[in-house]
């Protein structure tokens, strides 16, 4: 009995020690040091710049009225870091949706359907006697996209001298009108960082 109590106590103590020194960051006012790699603030800056540019350009204003249907094409990560490009794309999507100008399709994307359920409910449920067929999605109800968002995140590492290096990141985005194949909006947002040569950006 004492042994169990001791184990429990030591576990509680060790977890308390681990928690010490950990601080939760308020991202809205964070003035913490900048990292060599791409951090959440860089994604926020790039997304903010892209959204402001998109909304002020008028490229997402549908001349026929209503909202454009946007598909997310490929956003290539051409950096030395393992990053999920959704960190950038999601912020832009949320803003465009909230702006009332654009709605994003999850049935089509650069890597196939973003949400497989769009097709699963059709393939698996249509004609299946177990399901009320009047509620199963009919043929020809999916909405085709009008515009697509593609892009690339680039990284260049340059040596300044024996001690310092410059790391350049470029967030490049393109909005294409799928009817004509023409790029109707493009944006490049550079982020330049200088750091010690000993710092590694991945």
């Amino acid at each position: 009995m004492y042994r169990i109590l001791l184990i429990f106590l030591s576990l509680a103590l060790s977890s308390a020690c681990l928690a010490r020194g950990v601080e939760k960051v308020d991202g809205r006012v964070d003035r913490g040091p900048t990292t060599v790699g791409i951090d959440y603030r860089d994604f926020e800056d790039a997304a903010s710049d892209a959204v402001q540019s998109l909304l002020s350009s008028g490229a997402v204003v549908n001349p026929d009225g209503g909202r454009y249907v946007l598909m997310i094409s490929r956003i290539v990560n051409d950096t030395m870091q393992r990053i999920d490009t959704d960190q950038l794309v999601k912020k832009i999507r949320i803003e465009l949706l909230n702006s009332g100008r654009v709605v994003v399709t999850t049935a089509v994307s650069g890597d196939g359907a973003e949400d497989r359920a769009n097709f699963q409910v059709r393939e698996d449920l249509r004609g299946n006697d177990e399901f009320d067929q009047s509620r199963v999605q009919r043929r020809g109800t999916l909405v085709a996209p009008d515009i697509s968002l593609s892009g690339k995140i680039l990284q260049r590492n340059l040596t300044i001298d024996r001690r310092k290096q410059q790391i350049e990141y470029y967030f490049q985005l393109t909005l294409t009108d799928l009817e004509t194949g023409l790029a109707v909006w493009e944006n490049e947002f550079p982020i330049i960082k200088r750091a010690s040569n000993r710092s590694v950006g991945w």
Binding site: R28, V29, R41, E44, D45, A47, S48, V51, Q52, S53, L55, S56, G58, V61, K91, I94, E95, N98, S99, G100, R101
Partner: protein, 119 residues
């Protein structure tokens, strides 16, 4: 003397108002010194997205770090949670002018408050 009293009260009130500092740009708040704001231009895109351009100059004798943002409010004066309101870092060059352009998150943004913080 009794007939003069209202005039005296009015004169005193006018003097008080005259002494008070009136901010010519109530939609722009500057935290810190060494910045002068010259002009604030409000405009809208064709589809009603608001834009604001703040023009000013640094009065400092050396370069200073600063950051700025615009907080946007909807029709009910509620702040809009948006990525376009994140702080943007900038360098205020000594005694040089600057222009800050901020675009609202959509036509639902009705009012704004620009914050400039000299670090």
């Amino acid at each position: 003397m009794r007939t003069l009293r209202p005039f005296l009260v009015l004169l005193f009130a006018m003097a008080l108002v005259g002494c008070a500092t009136i901010n010519p740009f109530p939609n722009v708040t500057v935290y810190g010194s060494s910045i002068k704001i010259y002009r604030v231009i409000d405009s809208q895109t064709a589809d009603g997205v608001p834009e604001v351009v703040v023009s000013g100059a640094s009065a400092a004798l050396n370069d200073r770090s600063a950051r700025y943002r615009a907080v946007w409010f909807d029709q009910q004066s509620r702040p809009i949670e948006t990525v376009v309101s994140t702080w943007t870092e900038m360098t205020l060059q000594a005694e040089r002018p600057f222009n800050l352009r901020m675009v609202g998150p959509g036509a639902h943004a009705r009012r704004y408050q620009v914050e400039i913080e000299v670090l």
